[in-house]
Symmetry: none
Subunit: 225 residues, 2 copies
Amino acid sequence: MTRVLVVDDDPAIVRALVINLRARKYEVDSAEDGAGALRAAAARHPDVVVLDLGLPDTDGVDVIRRLREWSRVPILVLSARHASGEKVQALDAGADDYVTKPFGMDELLARLRAAVRRAEPADGGDVVVETGTFTVDLAAKKVHRDGRDVRLTPTEWHLLEALVRAGGRLVGQRQLLREVWGPSYGTETNYLRVYMAQLRRKLEADPSRPRHLITEPGMGYRFEK
Amino acid sequence: MTRVLVVDDDPAIVRALVINLRARKYEVDSAEDGAGALRAAAARHPDVVVLDLGLPDTDGVDVIRRLREWSRVPILVLSARHASGEKVQALDAGADDYVTKPFGMDELLARLRAAVRRAEPADGGDVVVETGTFTVDLAAKKVHRDGRDVRLTPTEWHLLEALVRAGGRLVGQRQLLREVWGPSYGTETNYLRVYMAQLRRKLEADPSRPRHLITEPGMGYRFEK
DNA sequence: CCGGTCCTTGACGCAACCCTGACGCGCGCG
DNA sequence: CGCGCGCGTCAGGGTTGCGTCAAGGACCGG
């Protein structure tokens, strides 16, 4: 879950933001001055900071600078000042975006999404699924087993991907055929038999007794961790 | 030097931006419609795009989406519309920032600096990638091998860069073609064969048995350390 | 005007992949 | 008990995809 730190000395604005963000499944912390903001940022490591420039104790730009000394968290500045000098200062100090009050909530949320989205892929969001015998990396399109890479043909990979993406649920033969071979297929269940066998030969410890690539007779197939 | 692509159908705005940017030592390209923008982006690989939403040929949001299919270049949207719906659309399509006309030049420049600054370290996590046989310096655009520089042609470099930037993930042939040759390509897989062979000849210890520039038959290519 | 570099394009051989048909087996049902 | 059905296995043949080489043309600098 994405964690947001909201910093503003106006309780009304904090409340409005907290309610809106929580409703959208963000995890929200808040602070009402610069010192509290820096403390909260250090303690909670938010994924994005919404920062009002007009704080009671510190100059907002100074808060940005202090934050930037050790963190790259996206900072979205909120300010009542329209003067371009303020904006330039804040942005050059390390802010990522600058929104003037009064602001539209949906615009702010969109800017927030943009800021978070940008920061994400740096971490590397590969989806890896592990079983007792092998490992599937959906992002890298790689399969690992016993410390070695397993070579899969395109069709084999598509089939495995469709099963793994289903996340343990049963996938009907029709659906499987459509996903892998295209929408005009649906009855060629022999394809499934052949390629499931090949997958099991490459991935299962005992291909004749599959533990992860399970067939549900008459219905379809299922991937189990 | 930072390369900027300016897209606007109003010559006055383009001229103003070009002059201001050039004065600040940016390298500037420009386009006046969506098609030209996509072409220029593919050909020149800008570090940031300034994009007007009101283009004559294409919907601006569509340009963003097309760009995002193959590129992560920061996009700064310029628009005369203040409606928040437009902003949300553009930002969610993949834009990084949204500025309404008329805009202050210094504010725009500050937002541009912010966008570029953000993008730099994201790519530059490991600017230098080493393998057992050769070294790729993404920042300096140089390849080292056995203590000497390897001379790569522009196309060879683009291809290598696209693979290395993927960080071990498989890159599909379509995507590779689009990133290197531009969005209008996608089926010319023979290009890939020729240039992969040249890269392997220059970089692999045994070009006929590549260890780092791997082909996954029917799917794409992969760079491995 | 000439030489070199780089990109594009075509042809060819070879390996790998996809499809297909045949067979065996277990199971349920008539 | 015989039969049909669904599934797993195997092997062969047509086709595709990949690597390689070489030639033609555009572009640039001398």
